[in-house]
């Protein structure tokens, strides 16, 4: 077999693809959120819902002692239910800052939602297509993640925050 330019290209392309496949096997494709606890959140950038020139990223959260990232939407009924607990957190727990991520929602509806029920959030980020939420390992909403100043996840709450979860958060942040 003579060696020619075309053959070299074909072989290297195939070798490249096969190597990528092999590496791909090691990637954890599972968005299982249990394994999230103890991990550090990285690589994210959140845009403000009403002003997309404003954004926050990892460094901004390091300033807070604790941050609760809450995923919500106006169309989600349980989000309504948990809202008063978020407001309580804002009023009674000074260690925590709450970041809201508005999940697959319309801007107007989200704003009305906050106007009607009150705004517990220090910052409201937007995630219209749900991609950012995938990074955080979110299945559905409401979900919340509690992180410390090192950005390590210390608690993950799937479903609405109720009295039990509220007490847990208070305990963890004291």
């Amino acid at each position: 077999m003579k060696i020619s330019f075309v053959k070299i290209i074909i072989f290297s392309l195939i070798i490249f693809i096969l190597i990528v496949f092999w590496r791909g096997l090691k990637i954890n494709n599972n968005y299982d959120t249990k394994s999230l606890i103890g991990n550090r959140i990285s690589n994210f950038k959140l845009f403000e819902i009403n002003n997309e020139d404003r954004y926050i990223y990892e460094e901004d959260l390091k300033k807070n002692k604790y941050t609760l990232i809450n995923f919500f939407a106006s169309w989600c009924a349980p989000c309504r239910a948990e809202h008063k607990f978020l407001l309580n957190l804002l009023n009674e727990n000074k260690e925590i800052k709450i970041i809201g991520i508005n999940f697959k929602d319309k801007k107007i509806n989200a704003n009305n939602f906050l106007k009607e029920l009150g705004n517990p959030y220090d910052f409201v980020g937007i995630d219209t297509d749900g991609k950012t939420s995938i990074l955080f390992g979110i299945y559905g909403i409401p979900e919340s993640i509690l992180i410390d100043s090192e950005l390590t996840v210390i608690k993950k709450i799937v479903g609405p925050i109720g009295q039990v979860q509220y007490d847990d958060i208070t305990k963890l942040t004291q």
């Binding site: 077999m1 072989f11 693809i17 496949f21 791909g24 096997l25 494709n29 991609k131």
Partner: protein, 628 residues
């Protein structure tokens, strides 16, 4: 007991494969014209034991023998009989046994039915095919043994995933496997052709039936999968450009190109190297698709419980296949020159191949790019319908024009004055298109072009059909059916896309929702107990506001017990002109239900025209040899 019987049979098949390879190698050196009798006998034993091993597994499933891990994990005594059998190929291990079965069956049939062909070519094909069989047998025995036993024997099984408990899905895997694994035989034949030098027209004749068989089954398998998605997944769509659907399309593009260029090889003795490449590519893509699905790299409804060691094995074998075929191909490659006249059928078939290659590359990139990005930069993206729609749909327009015009040209060179006919038909298509847009009220350049080209293809095929009725040239019939099917498919998908209505809202029992055309009233909720699930059935009354026609639809939420899963069953009322599609899902912590209502025109026609495409292939298979 069944466990040892199964393993024993598989090991016998393994030994027979080694023996066949050994004796075939010896037979190659003997200058006799016929294949050694022993090889026939060994192959007959091989196929018998393979099929018996599969029946052993089926029996284990029917008798709910939970001493087999595979049965324990995928079956349950309460499961309906039909799904107990379907459970055999519902798991990774069982489907691998089916895979080996098809490899062996094709190997045997190829040996028996091609007795007029060159001896060494047949022997080499047998050798290569048995190497493939060995590869998959080792995989089965070492990594994915369907006969592994479990002790102590569990009293009850875990059950089959409820979304797989559907008639369409029960037959979907076997169809696809005949299609995809059937490609193995002309992969082996192509390698054999390179090694033995048995090339050209005779080679084309030796593999063409097998290409057609696997094409028919692939096409049918993909369609059945799509029908299942429409009825079962409850999104109202039928094609999602899901990574696994894409994985099934890749070999289909290659095989469709192959089926066409094979005709050129047979009639004109040209394009030999290209045909070989397509033969090799089709099976390599089938295995690549299997690798991507089974290793868990791709996430979708098809994901089997993933296991990286499984992936590594398939990947190693895939690399072995790719490199050995490439090395053999390049070492035997001879440059061909051919000179096709621009007005000849060959050119159009070549054009078909270029389009197929383009579609293949597009889908391949769309499928692999997210994996590459994830591996190289850890960025997760998904390439979805917008990409495929933008890149593929515009190209379908010229594709359909060529598809209509191509068969009108003769081989080598045509002098027909057929252009004025084309013009008339284009005008006809344009007029019909105008009517459609008059009613739809939506306008876009691309959809106009799609309609015109689809109607052009349909009109052409109808004219051909008329000619067929006059002159009864059976050779043309399969092509006419398939091409007509494709034209109709694109046409009905276009109509469906233009005229579909979709509404999404929340309702509770007793409430009424009015849309522009329908009044939907939520009458009541019923609970039904069934053998393996409990169902919450909504009773909806739909009134068509135009003609006051009232229909009742009952979408369900099913709670399966083994394993405990929730599924949403759409209520679908199929009529000749449109489908009404209603799904309901519960909104947690409230008495509201989320209702999705869709009216989809001509859905049944989409299925009919898709089935026509594969029907064309089956018709061709029934044509007798002398007619072919």
């Amino acid at each position: 007991m069944l466990s040892s019987v199964g393993i024993g049979l598989v090991i016998l098949v393994l030994i027979l494969s080694f023996l066949i390879i050994y004796i075939a190698c010896l037979d190659l050196k003997i200058s006799r014209q016929t294949v050694e009798k022993k090889i026939y006998n060994l192959s007959l034993f091989q196929i018998t034991f393979t099929v018996l091993s599969f029946f052993t597994l089926i029996i284990a499933f029917i008798s709910s023998d939970f001493s087999l891990i595979n049965v324990y994990e995928n079956s349950h005594t309460n499961k309906p009989f039909f799904y107990k059998i379907a459970g055999t190929w519902g798991s990774h291990e069982g489907s691998l046994l089916l895979w080996v079965n098809i490899l062996v069956i094709f190997s045997y049939l190829f040996l028996v039915f091609n007795h007029t062909h060159n001896k060494n070519f047949r022997l080499y094909t047998l050798i290569f095919q048995n190497i493939l069989i060995l590869g998959f047998l080792f995989f089965l025995l070492l990594n994915s043994n369907p006969f592994s036993s479990i002790y102590p024997v569990p009293i009850e099984g875990l059950g089959l995933n409820p979304i797989l408990q559907d008639p369409a899905l029960a037959i979907h895997p076997p169809l696809l496997y005949v299609g995809f694994v059937g490609c193995s035989i002309y992969f082996s034949a192509a390698m054999a052709s390179l090694v033995s030098g048995y090339s050209g027209k005779l080679f084309a004749i030796s593999i063409k039936t097998w290409v057609k068989i696997s094409w028919c089954f692939q096409t049918l398998g993909i369609i059945v999968g799509s029908i299942w998605a429409y009825y079962e997944l409850g999104w109202g769509g039928f094609w999602f450009w899901d990574p696994v659907e894409n994985a099934s399309l890749l070999p289909w593009f290659a095989i469709t190109a192959l089926m066409h260029s094979l005709i050129v090889l047979e009639k004109r003795n040209a394009l030999y190297s290209w045909v070989i490449i397509l033969c090799l590519l089709t099976f390599i893509l089938s295995v690549t698709g299997t690798f991507l699905v089974r290793s868990g790299i791709l996430n979708s409804v098809h994901t089997f419980a993933s296991d990286p060691s499984r992936g590594i094995y398939i990947l190693l074998f895939l690399s072995f296949m790719i490199f050995s075929s490439l090395i053999i191909f390049f070492s035997k490659y001879k440059k061909e020159t051919y000179n096709f006249n621009l007005k000849s059928r060959e050119i159009f078939i070549l054009a078909n191949n270029w389009f197929m290659a383009f579609f293949l590359v597009t889908v391949l990139i769309g499928m692999l790019y997210p994996i590459f990005l994830d591996v190289l930069t850890s960025v997760k993206i998904s390439v979805g319908p917008p990409f495929f729609n933008i890149v593929i749909i515009p190209l379908v327009v010229p594709f359909m024009f060529l598809m209509a015009v191509g068969p009108k040209f003769g081989w080598i060179k045509s002098k027909n004055k057929i252009f004025h006919k084309f013009l008339i038909l284009i005008l006809g298509a344009g007029t019909i298109n105008l009517f459609i847009f008059y009613f739809s009220g939506k306008y876009s350049l691309l959809s106009n072009l799609i309609f015109i080209s689809a109607i052009f293809l349909i009109l052409h095929s109808l004219l051909d059909l008329k000619n067929f009725i006059n002159n009864r040239n059976k050779l043309e019939l399969p092509r006419i059916i398939s091409h007509l099917g494709f034209g109709l498919l694109v046409f009905f998908i276009g109509i469906n896309h233009q005229f579909s209505i979709e509404e999404d809202f929340n309702l509770k029992v007793g409430e009424i929702k009015k849309t522009n055309t329908y009044k939907i009233s939520f009458e009541e909720i019923k609970i039904k107990e069934s053998k393996n699930y409990k169902a919450v059935i909504g009773n909806f009354k739909l009134t068509n506001l135009k003609n006051n026609l009232v229909q009742n639809l009952g979408p369900e939420i099913r709670i399966y017990s083994n394993p405990e899963t929730l599924t949403y069953e759409a209520a679908i009322r199929t009529k000749i002109h449109s489908d009404l599609y209603l799904t309901m899902s519960n909104v947690s912590r409230s008495d509201y239900y989320n209702i999705k209502f869709q009216k989809k025109p001509f859905m049944i026609w989409i299925w009919i025209s898709a089935l026509m495409i594969s029907l064309g292939g089956f018709v061709q298979l029934t044509l007798k040899k002398n007619e072919n």
